[in-house]
Each structure stands twice: as structure tokens, then as C-alpha cells.
């Protein structure tokens, strides 16, 4: 694949369609640029009360007593709840979120702490009151007595003999077998392929390095909101901003021990999530407060609550060792991945293990993964969860191999690139993938050959893999008599998916994207639809829309046949018109036939429920130029090119947007962002001033190349685009810093302090 003349955003198209691949204005656009779109915090209803959650000031403490009497006496306070108000749970029940899962007893304990506070910010109690201010005052009047315990804050610390135990009853699962060893190590898994020792013996050169990363947050701009009304008829209604309305429904049903049919979740517009708005935090608490008061109760998190009381992505310790022959053939690779799970088991180390070497075809591999509980918030998904931590290590070691072998870093990757038929160390054999095509698009991009002039400047590259997921989606389509369709789907629209889903239905029916009215329905009004996550929405819900449109088409063909009094087999649908295969006189546009439905038998509704298995993995690569200030260590990103195989870009503008957004988050992760922890486990930078996400002034334009290697497992070839793009930025920037300074940065973030310190170490 070759690129032509440079443009900031290029699409390497594999197949063209009428609607798919065009750039219509999104259907919810006017609402979102006028302020009319209603997000979770905008919800209001008669008699609404306001809730506030009291959170633990300690990272690890036994709760000795909770005295709510003073708070209850405050005028305007209507109810207070603690963990005692939650039903007790059965052991061993697993709640599946689509992207991640959690044991019910832990999920419940995370909603309101029972006997121990396991991280600073852990919810302890909650108040419902007449105003948010009264609720806040009341929460401060709740008297909690703690016995403060020593916290454990990193995975390596947590695995040490004699470390304070986060859960006294947690036993290590070693290679799938439960042991009787009490430890913070929840589990250790291992993937093996070939013979590692033999592979390293065949190598002419071996590079091994250790890397550390710290906790970072998704940083969505909208704090979590939730309103619950436990109605007097026993039904619980929840209005919230979530990536998965059905996940909220199912999680609340388990936590509150009521049937799913008793819960209706209304997904409001969502102000960003990136994986962080899948788990429930506020919803069960608002429900309990509503049940106690008989009123709807709204709780909205503060920014500090978001940092301390939700689920960031973990800090980690990663050791990677790779051996290669002098010709660049990689012969062996070993990874040791120890990830912080947060306060309960379930870090994304499993996904890290699936991705750490998956851009490469390597014969001899061992991957060890360790899931370690620590006194920090329970980690949640964040855009390709687990993969960036691993790639930060692998892609720097590969870069170092290229340097030592005197090879071009893209050539070394191309020589070892994974392709169709490559078996990953964790098992799966790749179907058609676009790893080689992405690397080739990087190599032929004008950025890669552009001169890099001036002192202290360097260029780095890297590549990343994410597997993407399928899961269930539902959709229904009703035909309007003016030739438009109404499309009802269950995937919350976090970044333009109303458009990308509607366009797939429009393509099938030969109508314009603007002739589709897509809406996201509540859990009573649409079939089960899994989470908006795993880069699955345009893939799976788009497929549901495709199938529902096919259902409409079948019924419309039958209707045309009835009108013409011919056999349905003799009617075809082509380019937006129904035609007789035998009589060229008989032809009707979609719009014409739609206008005749009521007089020819009644309305037409198409429907589909899918659970596709053919999710296609996505590869993303970066070329980055940086300048490092030799005095301060500050790194400036001068030029950034993001390349990704997305299968098929349904709406290229929003595909580019995902690539640019993921790149920006990766740049923030690389250079600035971190939970800055005090010694007692308190995050000390809980504002958006001190938790420093990239601003417009920190970034250059982010050029994109959309590579389209069609996914054979989707009607239009979609793979999904949401996640893989966050993987390559941290190592690409690290490699660029190395190219500029000769320094290997072995920890994140690579802020001025870290770069300066690495310089001091080198000079010693």
C-alpha cells in the first residue's frame, strides 16, 4: 500500500459505497451545539432530592463505627444509608460488564464499604437531602471511627512477603488452581508458545529492561451523574450517563437483589467514558436513598470523587526480554506483567497478556501475568485496557534492538510482523489482519522521510494491537410513509455512533443518512445491547442495524410483489428501487413504496438481534517528532502521525476523531498524567489543574492515516477504531526522546523531572 501526496488526513480506501465512507452531519448534532442535549446531570423531576456520598479519608482502615445521628438531625435531611442497607450477597456470583467483570461480593463492597475502607475515596455512607448543599453539610456530620491500617500501593510492594493484606481472605490463584496462600496476589497466569530457552539460545542479541507506570484516569469531562426513583409500585427507574444501560440494569439487579424486570435504565447523553463509565458507583446508592424517601434522588460526583471514587487504569511493573538474530529475526520473548488491580481483584493484566507481543510473529514466548490488589480505587476499563502498559515496554525494547542491530525500526517490525495465520502466545490464530499494511503506510508516509532538523530533536515510532470485541446488540427499524426510517438501538452514543449505525442501515436501504432518525432507547424499549466499549459499537450494533435493514428490505420486496401481483422471488432491490426482474415497467423507489404501506397492508417494522463472533483486531502505529529542552527536561511534541487499520471507516471524520483523541490521551499519559500519591496512599492532585491533561496549547495537529484492511467478519468490513490508537503513543514518544537525547525512559510519565533525572543518571 502506498500513500500519495501528503494530506493531513488520508484514507486508504479498499471499497466504496454510497453512504458508508461519506461524512454526513451527525443526527444529534444540532442538540449538542445548542446545549439542548440532556446529559445525566441535566435530569430533573418533581420532588427531586439530592444525594452526597461520604468517602474514606484513609487508604486502608477498619471501620469501627458510623454515627449518623447528628447528620439525621440536620433540617432538610431525609435519609442516610450505609453498607448495612445493601442486601447480603451470595458468594461466587460474577457480574459481567462486557468489558471486564467482578465478583458480586466485591462489587457490593465497592458501592458502600462494609468492614474496611480499602482506598481513599471509598464510599462509606450517603445522605439524601433537600439540596446538594444540605446533603454535603450532612455528610460532613457523619461521625466515622476508623482504625487506620498500613496501606500497600504498588504491585511489587503488594507481592512482597509480609506486605499488609488488603483482603485477609483472598487466596492466590496460581495457574488456574486456587491455593490456600493468603496474599495480595489474586492470580498468576502464564501463556507459553515454543521453547523460550531454546529461542534465547538462538539469539545473537538480547535486550531486557524493566518499566514502571503509574495510575492514570480516563479524564472524561462529565463527572458521573445518577438519578434513581424507586417507585411506589416497586419498579426502579434510573437515569444516568453510562456506556451500558443494560450493564447498569444487570449490576443493580444483582447488588440490590431484585429481578432485572423491576429495573428500567434510561441512558442520558454521556459526556465521555473511555471505559470508565461501565461500572456502577452511584446508581445503587441513589436507589437505596430513593427507596427510603419515596422520592427521586440525584447524585452527581465532584471532580475529586471521579478521581478517587471511580476506576482508573492501573500502575504496573513490566519486565520485557527479547532476543533476535543479527538479521533481525526475533527468536524469543518473555514478559513479566504485574498490574495493580486496585482494591479488588481484576486488573486488565489479562488483556495486557493478550497484547504484549501480538504485533509480532515470534516462535518462542512466555508471558507471565500477575493481578495484585492494592489500596487504590478498583481499576476499570480505559481504552484498550492493559495494552498501553505492556506496549510501553515491548516497543522500547524492540526499538533498542533495532538501534543495536543497525536496522530501521519499521523494517525490524515489518520483518517480524504478525499476519494471517500467526498464532498468538495466548492461543488465537490471527485471521486477516492489517499489521503489515499499517507498518507500510507508516514507512511510506511523508512524515517518516521528512528531514528532522535542529538540536535536541528526535523521531520515534511504535505499533500497538487491540483485539476488539463483538457481543450482543439489538435494533429495530420502522418505515415512515415519507420514505424515511426510525431506527431504535441500545448503544449509548459516546462519539458519533448514532451516525455510524444509521449509515449502515441507510446503505442497505439505498436512502440518505439524513433519512434515518436514530434514537438510543431505554432498557424497556430495545432488545438487550451490551456495553459501548471494546470498539464494538459500530461493528456489532452497526451489524444489528444492517440486519434490521435487511429485514425491512425483505418485507418491502414482499409488499412490492403484492402491489404488482407478482411472485416475491421476481422482485429485486437495487440502488434504492424495487424492480421486477422480468418486467422493466415495474419499478418503485423506496420512498414511493413507503408512501403506499398503509394502503397495502399496514406498517413495516424490521428487527434484528445479533451476537457476532467475528470481531477483527486493530493495529495502530505512530510516528512522533519531539524536542527535549536540555535544561528543564520538558518534552514538546512537534509532529504526530497516527495510522490505524479500522477495517472500514463508516464515517471517516469520526474515525479520525477517535484516532486523534486516543493519540491525545496517549500523549497525556506519556508526558504528564499521574495519580500523585502521598505516602499514606492519598492522591494529592485531585483537580484538573494538578492532574494535567493535554490542553489545546500542548498538542500539534494530529495527522491520521486510515488503513482499510476489511474485516472478513463484518458485512462492510468494520473492525472498530476506539481503542488501539492509545497504545502506541507512550512508547513512540519514549523512542523519540531516546532519539533526541540517548536516554531510555523506563517510567511514566516522562515529565520534566523524569527526563532530567534520567539525564543525571546517564552522566554519573
Amino acid at each position: 500500500m502506498t500513500t500519495t501526496a501528503y494530506e493531513p488526513n488520508m484514507v486508504l480506501v479498499n471499497e466504496t459505497f454510497d453512504v458508508v465512507g461519506t461524512r454526513p452531519i451527525r443526527h444529534d448534532g444540532a442538540d449538542k451545539v445548542t446545549g439542548r442535549a440532556l446529559y445525566g446531570a441535566d435530569f430533573d423531576t418533581a420532588g427531586l432530592l439530592h444525594g452526597k456520598i461520604l468517602r474514606s479519608p484513609h487508604a486502608h482502615a477498619r471501620i469501627k463505627s458510623i454515627d449518623t445521628s447528628k447528620a439525621e438531625a440536620l433540617p432538610g435531611v431525609l435519609a442516610i444509608v450505609t453498607a448495612k442497607d445493601l442486601p447480603t450477597t451470595k458468594a461466587g456470583v460474577i457480574v459481567d460488564f462486557g468489558e471486564g467483570n467482578m465478583e458480586l461480593k466485591y462489587l457490593r463492597d465497592n458501592i458502600l464499604a462494609s468492614d474496611k475502607a480499602l482506598y481513599k475515596g471509598h464510599a462509606i455512607a450517603a445522605v439524601a437531602a433537600s439540596s446538594p448543599h444540605v446533603a454535603e453539610e450532612a455528610a460532613a456530620l457523619i461521625d466515622v471511627q476508623y482504625e487506620v491500617l498500613e496501606p500497600v500501593l504498588t504491585a511489587p510492594e503488594g507481592m512482597k512477603e509480609g506486605a499488609p493484606l488488603v483482603h485477609e481472605d483472598l487466596k492466590t490463584e496460581e495457574l488456574g488452581e486456587k491455593t490456600d496462600k493468603s496474599s495480595n496476589l489474586a492470580s498468576h497466569f502464564r501463556h507459553t508458545k515454543g521453547d523460550l530457552d531454546q529461542g534465547f539460545q538462538e539469539a545473537d542479541i538480547v535486550v531486557e529492561r524493566e518499566f514502571n507506570t503509574v495510575t492514570v484516569h480516563q479524564g472524561y469531562i462529565e463527572p458521573h451523574p445518577a438519578t434513581a426513583l424507586w417507585n411506589q409500585d416497586g419498579r426502579l427507574h434510573i437515569w444516568c450517563s453510562t456506556q451500558g444501560a443494560f450493564v447498569v440494569r444487570d449490576s443493580c439487579a444483582q447488588i440490590l437483589d431484585i429481578p432485572v424486570s423491576q429495573i428500567r435504565v434510561v441512558p442520558m447523553e454521556i459526556g465521555g467514558g473511555f471505559g470508565g463509565k461501565i461500572n456502577v458507583y452511584l446508581e445503587p446508592v441513589a436507589a437505596l436513598l430513593s427507596k427510603k424517601t419515596g422520592h427521586a434522588v440525584k447524585i452527581v460526583m465532584s471532580r475529586a470523587d471521579c478521581f478517587e471514587g471511580t476506576g482508573p487504569t492501573p500502575g504496573s511493573y513490566v519486565k520485557v526480554k527479547i532476543g533476535a538474530k543479527n538479521d533481525g529475526t526475533i527468536t524469543a520473548a518473555h514478559a513479566y506483567l504485574a498490574y495493580e488491580a486496585g482494591a479488588y481483584p481484576g486488573s486488565p493484566v489479562g488483556a495486557g497478556g493478550m497484547c504484549v507481543f501480538s504485533a509480532y510473529d515470534i516462535d518462542n514466548v512466555v508471558i507471565d501475568g500477575y493481578d495484585v490488589v492494592v489500596n487504590k480505587p478498583k481499576t476499570a476499563a480505559y481504552r484498550a485496557p492493559g495494552a498501553p502498559n505492556a506496549a510501553f515496554a515491548t516497543e522500547q525494547v524492540v526499538d533498542e534492538l533495532a538501534n543495536k542491530l543497525g536496522m530501521d525500526p519499521i523494517d525490524l517490525r515489518l520483518k517480524n510482523a504478525a499476519k494471517e495465520g500467526t498464532r498468538r502466545a495466548d492461543g488465537p490464530v490471527f485471521p486477516r489482519i492489517g499489521c503489515v499494511e499499517v507498518l507500510e503506510a507508516m514507512k511510506s508516509h511523508p512524515h517518516y522521510s521528512a528531514p528532522l532538523e535542529g538540536p535536541n530533536r528526535g523521531r520515534g515510532v511504535s505499533i500497538g494491537f487491540w483485539f476488539n470485541i463483538g457481543l450482543a446488540s439489538s435494533c429495530s427499524i420502522s418505515v415512515n410513509d415519507d420514505g424515511t426510517i426510525n431506527l431504535v438501538e441500545g448503544s449509548t452514543d459516546i462519539g458519533g455512533t448514532r451516525a455510524s449505525i444509521a449509515m449502515q442501515a441507510a446503505e442497505v436501504l439505498g436512502i440518505a443518512a439524513e433519512d434515518v432518525r436514530p434514537s438510543v432507547a431505554d432498557t424497556d424499549s430495545v432488545g438487550y445491547t451490551a456495553v459501548t466499549g471494546g470498539s464494538r459499537t459500530t461493528f456489532a450494533t452497526g451489524w444489528a442495524a444492517y440486519e434490521a435493514a435487511q429485514d425491512v428490505k425483505r418485507q418491502m420486496i414482499e409488499r412490492a410483489a403484492t402491489v404488482w401481483e407478482v411472485d416475491a422471488d421476481s422482485v429485486e432491490f437495487d440502488k434504492g428501487a424495487f424492480k421486477s426482474k422480468t418486467d422493466p415497467e415495474l419499478s418503485m423507489s423506496f420512498k414511493d413504496l413507503a408512501g403506499r404501506l398503509s394502503s397495502t397492508g399496514g406498517p413495516i417494522v424490521g428487527r434484528a438481534a445479533v451476537n457476532p463472533q467475528g470481531a477483527g483486531g486493530s493495529f495502530a502505529g505512530n510516528i512522533v517528532d519531539v524536542e527535549v529542552d536540555p535544561e528543564t527536561g520538558k518534552v514538546e511534541v512537534l509532529r504526530f502521525t497516527a495510522v490505524q487499520d479500522v477495517g472500514k471507516a463508516i464515517h471517516p471524520s469520526y474515525v479520525e476523531g477517535q484516532m486523534q483523541g486516543g493519540s491525545a490521551q496517549g500523549i497525556g499519559w506519556a508526558l504528564n498524567e499521574e495519580y500523585y500519591m502521598g505516602e499514606q496512599g492519598q492522591m494529592t492532585n485531585t483537580s484538573l489543574l494538578d492532574y494535567r491533561m493535554p490542553t489545546s496549547l500542548d498538542l500539534p495537529m494530529i495527522d491520521t492515516v486510515i488503513v482499510e484492511v476489511a474485516n472478513p467478519g463484518h458485512p462492510f468490513g468494520v473492525r472498530g477504531v476506539g481503542e488501539a490508537n492509545i497504545i502506541p503513543p507512550t512508547p513512540a514518544i519514549a523512542n523519540a526522546i531516546h532519539s533526541a537525547t540517548g536516554l531510555r525512559l523506563e517510567r511514566l510519565p516522562m515529565n520534566p523531572g523524569a527526563v532530567t533525572e534520567a539525564g543525571w543518571k546517564q552522566r554519573k
Partner: protein, 161 residues
């Protein structure tokens, strides 16, 4: 509890009055008392810019303004940007450039852009980035927002010519 204060102001060209507690921020009053929920809360401490409004010709974050301070002031919120039934060129440009994903930061960006182009109708890329540096967007990486502002500036210049 202290009593409420009577405040009169002009919001989006309309005379408006409201009662507020002295501790209520202008953001809280705009959203919860007056019902203008297009102005979004992202941090409540002036760092994200999601609640940006124009107050007497200057952009401010109303989370850092007490509602009682609005007495006699003129304000423009996102609800006051469109021209009747037509989108403002900035709003149209944000749509055409796909300059939003989740949309929660969008009202703040559009209001801040309005103030920028009122003051500097033909800004450079650097001037746009500098002006908008108080508005955080986590979805877009800013690329398409910058292009949308550039396009809007061109459209508005051409309309004037």
C-alpha cells in the same frame, strides 16, 4: 440558613430575575434555578472550561462567580448563540468539521470561540490554541476543533465582506 437574595440580570438578551442563596454559584443558578442546562459542569473549580459563558463581554467560568455578583450584568450562554432558528456559523462549523464527540465540552468551546472571533476575527492557529487552552476536551485531541474555528472565522469574514 441565610435568606435568599433577589438578583436582576440580562441573560441572552432577556431581562431575567431570580432568587438565590449567597453560597450558590452562578453556574448552579443558571442550571438549577433558571434551567439553562446547556452550560455544563465538569470540575466546579475553573479548570475545565465546560461552563464558559460571556459575562459583560468577557469569558468567565460561572462556577467561580457567585450568583449574587451577577446583579445588573449581561450574560451570553450557549442557549444565546444561535440566530433564532438558524445555527450560528461557529455551531455549523463544529458540525461540519466533526469537532465534537461526546459533546459535553462543546457549549463551552463554542461560547469561548464566539468571544475569540468577536475580538480577533482572523486568529492564527497559535492564537486559537492559546485562547482555548482553558477549555479541556478529552475526546478530540483538539485537531478538529481548531479546524472548525478556522473555518468559522473564514465563513464569518466572508459574510462580512
Amino acid at each position: 440558613m441565610p435568606g435568599k437574595t433577589y438578583v436582576q440580570a440580562t441573560i441572552n438578551g432577556e431581562h431575567t430575575d431570580f432568587l438565590c442563596e449567597p453560597r450558590q454559584s452562578l453556574l448552579e443558578v443558571l442550571r438549577d434555578v433558571i434551567g439553562l442546562t446547556g452550560t455544563k459542569e465538569g470540575c466546579n473549580d475553573g479548570n475545565c472550561g465546560a461552563c464558559t459563558i460571556i459575562l459583560d463581554g468577557r469569558i468567565v467560568t460561572p462556577c467561580l462567580v457567585l450568583a449574587v455578583e451577577a446583579e445588573g450584568k449581561e450574560m451570553t450562554t450557549i442557549e444565546g448563540i444561535a440566530n433564532g432558528s438558524t445555527l450560528h456559523p461557529i455551531q455549523q462549523s463544529f458540525l461540519e468539521n466533526a469537532a465534537l464527540q461526546c459533546g459535553i465540552c462543546t457549549p463551552g468551546f463554542i461560547v469561548a470561540t464566539k468571544a475569540l472571533l468577536d475580538e480577533n476575527p482572523n486568529p492564527t492557529e497559535y492564537e486559537i490554541r492559546f485562547w482555548l487552552a482553558n477549555n479541556l476536551c478529552r475526546c478530540t485531541g483538539y485537531d478538529k476543533i481548531i479546524r472548525a474555528v478556522q473555518d468559522a472565522a473564514t465563513t464569518m469574514q466572508e459574510a462580512k465582506a
